[in-house]
């Protein structure tokens, strides 16, 4: 379909755009303040909302999502709608409190573990959490490289090899984050986020016109006749059972929208004020539903057009439809759509990978180098060291991506699952004074082991994801806290900060 030259030119133009944004943002910040960290930022609500949504979109909207709807059907979409609604309530009880406490401490938190340390004052816990958050980062960054490289290989009919694409995309991603840091990633998210949401819906409409003359009713009727399983549980592939209808969205509600390190810092640290935090809560579910519905419709139209794709091919349903249906309808439109698909997949994927890469480098520099190994990097060398770390992490993810599993979905969901057990520690740390650091450490370990057992021993990862680990972690947190004690002075300051922050930001009228 596309020549390798077209793909490389597209890459080059997109890289120029990213580097242009990075240059603009860093120059603007240099004028405002010297010596700014690459790993922290504070942004107004439109950028906050878009960088958050773009981080969630990642490779989901163009790859894993359409494939998952193709296999899971309408019931799968309903299960997603159930968790998307939960963001405001979870954010209110957790991330807005995290935001206030961070502000009260001067906005100095870089990594999720910084917050946990504030509450539990345990260097060991900080190190363990740093390692777990880091472990979640690699599969996710790799998933992006896998998705984009598969797109390049598919779009060129194999003219660009998968391995070559992994290397080039990996290098682009690493260079961009090294140069620009987190604020340029957030700004690029805003610019391209709306554009690619528009592109997603363009693909939906174009495929509907090509496949069914623009009639949504015809598409639904066809599907109702040929694949009625799309409209009921457990879906066309028998995948959305009662168990996974709960396990999957519950994992997303906790893991994907709150606990993954790149969304944790966005939802908890990035907002420039509490009004921005609230706007994030108001807008996110609606905007996410709009995007996810477009993704679902791609799966619906794809299944109505062709119903016998292998599971691993379902994630390439968009380029499949372009190649097999749009080309015959209008070759020029097909080329434009393929380029759009490729750039869109690259852009939303890279924005997530950039976000992950930035926070992962923060974990290494802050949680591990500075606070575990007690190595003090001079302030003037901090940026240089961060760039080295970003480069090493980027190359590490690139190496993982060279030999990936069958489904991108698997990589993404494992990242989500492994951080889920850390949620009860966050909640109980905020609301229960008796929670101890010993309990936090034990519950982290118990939860992580349970997630690993869920995936690799019990083979229940595809149904329950991180839910068993989360429940195990919650129970361990309560039980061990009741049997252990921690010096009250360790948490006294934390709760004083909570009270001060509450009084500073809220006028409670009840």
């Amino acid at each position: 379909m596309l020549s390798s030259t077209t793909i490389w030119i597209t890459f080059a133009i997109y890289m120029c755009f990213l580097l242009g944004v990075a240059y603009y943002v860093t120059q603007k910040e240099k004028q405002q303040k010297e010596g700014k960290s690459l790993l922290k930022t504070s942004v107004a609500w439109p950028i906050l909302v878009m960088t958050y949504i773009a981080s969630l979109m990642s490779t989901w909207v163009f790859f894993a999502g359409p494939g998952a709807y193709y296999r899971g059907g309408m019931g799968y979409w309903l299960s997603e709608i159930s968790y998307i609604a939960l963001f405001p309530i979870i954010a209110h009880f957790t991330m807005n409190k995290v935001w206030m406490i961070n502000q009260e401490k001067g906005g100095n938190y870089v990594t999720p573990a910084d917050f946990y340390f504030e509450r539990f004052k345990s260097p060991a816990l900080r190190t363990i959490l740093g390692l777990i958050f880091l472990a979640a980062s690699f599969p996710y960054i790799s998933s992006v490289l896998v998705a984009i490289s598969q797109a390049a290989e598919y779009a060129t009919g194999g003219a660009i090899s998968y391995q070559m694409a992994v290397i080039v995309v990996g290098m682009i991603m690493t260079i961009f984050v090294c140069v620009g840091g987190v604020k340029s990633a957030a700004t690029a998210d805003t610019v391209q986020g709306l554009l690619f949401i528009g592109l997603l819906w363009f693909i939906v409409i174009a495929c509907l016109i090509v496949g069914f003359g623009g009639s949504f009713t015809t598409a639904v009727d066809t599907l109702w006749t040929n694949s009625p399983g799309f409209f009921s549980y457990p879906g066309p592939s028998g995948w959305v059972t009662y168990g996974s209808r709960f396990g999957y969205p519950f994992s997303c509600a906790i893991g994907w929208t709150i606990m993954l390190p790149h969304v944790f810092v966005r939802a908890g640290y990035f907002g420039d004020n509490l009004k921005s935090q609230r706007k994030l809560s108001y807008i996110t579910p609606v905007l996410q539903t709009f995007v996810w519905t477009g993704t679902m419709l791609i799966g619906l139209i794809g299944l109505a057009l062709v119903s016998n794709l292998a599971a691993s091919d379902t994630e390439l349903i968009i380029p499949y439809m372009i190649n097999n249906f749009v080309t015959a309808f209008n070759p020029t439109l097909a080329v434009m759509m393929m380029i759009g698909f490729f750039v869109g997949a690259t852009a939303v994927g890279l924005s997530t990978a950039n976000a992950f890469l930035t926070v992962a480098s923060g974990i290494v520099s802050s949680d591990l180098i500075k606070n575990t190994f007690k190595i003090n990097v001079p302030a003037e060398k901090e940026t240089f060291v961060n760039r080295i770390i970003i480069a090493v992490l980027g190359i590490g993810s690139l190496l993982i991506a060279i030999n990936p599993p069958d489904l991108i979905f698997t990589l993404i969901m494992f990242s989500i699952s492994i951080v889920m057990p850390l949620f009860p520690i966050l909640v109980l740390g905020l609301y229960w004074k008796k929670a101890t650091k010993q309990a936090a450490i034990v519950s982290t370990l118990v939860g992580t082991v349970l997630v690993l057992l869920t995936y690799f021993v019990w083979n229940l990862g595809g149904t329950w994801y991180g839910a068993i680990g989360l429940f195990g972690s919650a129970i361990a947190m309560v039980v061990v806290s009741l049997f252990t004690q921690q010096d009250e002075s360790d948490s006294k300051e934390f709760y004083e900060i909570c009270t001060r922050a509450n009084n500073r930001f809220y006028d409670v009228q009840e």
Binding site: S37, A85, G107, S232, Y242, L274, V508
Partner: protein, 74 residues
């Protein structure tokens, strides 16, 4: 952290609706119409509860007019 009565009600209502949506055995497998009815009866109230609750809780937690909200590295 203190939790107000409005927050508790919000949390309970949303949790109950989320459990209702996930109640095992409902709707029956391979039944399209019951799935849509079940989704409508549980998910629409869930969304309404989340947004109405959010509005009420934010009214309880009025924001102070602070020009120094963020002390991050703006």
């Amino acid at each position: 952290m203190r939790v107000t009565k409005t927050e508790k009600i919000w949390l309970v209502v949303v949790t109950v609706l989320y459990i209702l949506y996930n109640f095992p055995g409902l709707p029956a497998y391979d039944e399209p119409v019951p799935m849509l009815i079940h989704g409508g009866l549980t998910l629409i109230p869930l969304w309404i509860a989340v947004y109405v609750g959010m509005h009420k809780v934010y009214k309880v937690y009025k924001l102070r007019d602070s020009k120094t909200d963020s002390e991050g590295d703006k």
